[in-house]
């Protein structure tokens, strides 16, 4: 390739990946929430790990087009591993245990990724669902290790880095989750704006064409699936560490289904979708659960039905408009930037 072209492409990629003003605002708001809402740290902690979990699903659904009904398999594995590592004192330091749990989930993701390569969307749905069910059944059938249906109790989490002890108000937990979320978000951002991320979008758009311009489709899918499993494992481990508990519930179908809703609320195919979705979902859940503690699932179901009936495209168009506006404002504040093409095709 001529060096001029290389430079042009590199410049193009760099412009695409530049931080927008709104992104700074988002993370500043997240930071501010830590100081301004000290009484709400418990629910904010939940939002943080849910956001990470949704980000993980977005990586495969929004960027690679793999529908999964069993993402809880990795979440649950990470959760149980983190709890077990702490309970038996194998790895006491939470951060190290976190990474280990994530890596184990990634191994499971790698092993099962070959199952999702084949077949239609329906086959993928079934296979991912089946994997999550098998994981749940395994956890259910070895009560000596996992505690079975009672859950894994008596977990004591050591102070983070030996310095910060978890407190009952969730201050440390929230800071911890937020930092982990931010770091992993940066990593994910780096990945999706890289040429690799672009090739994923090509695969999602049309696998056949992607293959014919020289992208090894299967290798890409395996890589991103494994990567997403790592994220889901970390999210699960965060849950286990902040609650010092793990139960069969982490593998449940409802968890995978709720996760889809989270991501759909926020919008698929851009990194903030999962994050914004997590905030809205948790606040909504909290609000509905206060109104009708037992039947909040009904309203969640209603939201799902309405979203589909109204049409995700139409909703995405709205948010797309907001984003376009944001781009325009950003550009005004950064006049040096070349015009940036908005990545198309956020629907489906």
């Amino acid at each position: 390739m001529p060096p001029a072209l290389v430079g042009k492409v590199a410049h193009r990629l760099a412009t695409r990946a530049r931080w927008r003003l709104l992104e700074y605002a988002f993370w500043l708001a997240a930071l501010a929430s830590f100081f301004l809402l000290p009484n709400r740290h418990l629910i904010l902690t939940e939002i943080a790990w849910l956001a990470l979990f949704a980000l993980s699903l977005d990586l495969i659904l929004g960027y690679a087009g793999i529908i999964s009904l069993g993402h809880a398999a990795f979440f649950g594995l990470g959760s149980y591993l983190a709890a077990l590592l702490a309970k038996h004192g194998i790895v006491n330091e939470p951060v190290l245990a976190l990474v280990l749990s994530g890596l184990c989930a990634a191994v499971l993701g790698f092993a099962t990724s070959f199952l999702v390569l084949r077949g239609s969307d329906l086959t993928r749905l079934m296979v991912t669902l089946g994997v999550a069910l098998i994981m749940r059944e395994i956890a259910n059938q070895i009560p000596d290790i996992t505690g079975g249906a009672d859950g894994l109790q008596g977990v004591v989490i050591a102070p983070i880095l030996g310095l910060f002890q978890f407190d009952i108000f969730g201050h440390v937990a929230y800071a911890y989750c937020l930092i982990v979320l931010f770091i992993l978000f940066l990593l994910a951002r780096r990945v999706v704006y890289s040429p690799f991320g672009l090739s994923l979008r090509a695969v999602k758009g049309n696998p056949l064409r992607a293959a014919s311009i020289g992208i090894s489709v299967n290798a890409r899918l395996v890589t991103i699936y494994t990567f997403a499993a790592f994220y889901a494992g970390i999210a699960g481990a965060l849950l286990a560490q902040t609650t010092a508990f793990a139960s069969l519930d982490v593998f449940s179908f409802e968890r995978s289904a709720d996760l889809l809703l989270v991501l759909i609320i926020g919008g698929t195919g851009y990194l903030y979708g999962g994050l914004i979705g997590a905030v809205i979902f948790k606040l909504m859940q909290d609000w509905i659960a206060n109104l009708t503690p037992q039947y909040w699932q009904f309203w969640i179901g209603l939201v799902l039905v309405l979203i589909v009936l109204i049409g995700r495209d139409r909703i995405a168009l709205r948010t797309g408009g907001v984003r376009l506006l944001a781009e325009r404002i950003t550009r005004r504040f950064a006049p040096a930037a070349a015009p940036v093409a908005v990545p198309p095709g956020e629907g489906s």
């Binding site: 086959t123 994997v131 059944e137 889809l260 009904f298 039905v305």
Partner: protein, 286 residues
């Protein structure tokens, strides 16, 4: 040994009646209906109310369950599902999961969350022995009813005019439309009958499968397994798959209780990997 086989067959037959509607929905419209179990649950609860509270005879309860669920199915199909056919599988999944959540919470609200049982006539309780094989009377009834239904379905599909229209629509909806078959009407009717059968299955199976508001979620996987293993192109495929799953599940739970549920999940995944079109499907032309 034979008793287990017998129980397995009864279980499998029940699964077939529950799931055959789903297999047609999937095959005909490529529609992923995760809410199929909700219709089964509706049938179960309708029978429960009629038999336990209103004192209707058991068999009349079954018949009403079939009719009412079929009606509900047709209503839902015309008002809600019809908007979702053209959408992506993801949308269909979200939509039907939403319906399941709503159904679960609504039944919980109306009927309470505890497991319930339909009173079955005393003539159907207990078991007797034939040639040393223990045969539960109720299970025998299930096999009889489901067997008759299966035969009737097979006859309708293979030799009635409606059956040939349905088969034509499943094979290639576009060409079928071109030949003047009203595919949508065929589909509505099939959906209604499928829902009705699910309702009947739910009512019949309440004794064996148990009935509580989480029924659609608990058995959703089983229905999907039947359909994926059996394929969607015929009725014999899901039938064979149901028997296979039923016997494997009962035998698995009996002989290796530690691995009970693994057996069918593993069967499903292996089949999906080796034969994504289903075990008994013809080579797909589409």
């Amino acid at each position: 040994m034979l008793t287990i086989l017998f129980d397995g067959i009864a279980y499998g037959m029940l699964l077939f009646v529950l799931a055959c509607g789903l297999s047609v929905t999937l095959g005909l419209m490529n529609f992923v209906n995760l809410a199929h179990g909700a219709f089964a649950m509706a049938g179960g609860y309708i029978t429960l109310v009629l038999v336990n509270r209103a004192g209707l005879p058991f068999f009349a309860g079954l018949a009403v369950a079939f009719v009412v669920t079929a009606f509900i199915g047709a209503l839902f199909e015309r008002t809600l599902y019809v908007h979702v056919y053209g959408k992506s599988p993801l949308d269909q999944v979200l939509f039907t999961i939403g319906l399941v959540f709503m159904a679960v919470a609504a039944v919980d609200y109306v009927m309470g969350s505890q497991q319930v049982f339909i009173q079955i006539p005393s003539a159907l309780q207990g078991r007797f022995e034939i040639f040393g094989v223990g045969v539960g009377r109720y299970r025998l009834l299930i096999i009889a009813v489901c067997g008759i239904l299966t035969l009737a379905l097979q006859l309708i599909l293979s030799s009635s005019r409606f059956g040939s229209r349905l088969r034509a629509s499943v094979d290639d909806a576009r060409v079928a439309r071109g030949l003047g078959i009203n595919v949508n009407a065929v589909f509505s009717l099939t959906f209604a009958v499928g829902s009705g059968l699910a309702g009947l299955g739910g009512a019949l199976g309440a004794e064996i499968l148990g009935l509580d508001p989480t029924f659609p979620l608990k058995y959703m996987v089983y229905f999907l397994i039947v359909v994926t293993v059996g394929g969607t192109s015929s009725i014999t495929g899901p039938f064979a798959a149901s028997l296979l799953i039923g016997i494997a599940d009962v035998a698995g739970k009996y002989y290796v209780p530690k691995f009970g549920a693994f057996v069918i999940y593993t069967i499903m995944i292996i089949v999906l990997i080796l034969r994504p079109q289903g075990l008994f499907a013809r080579a797909a032309g589409k």
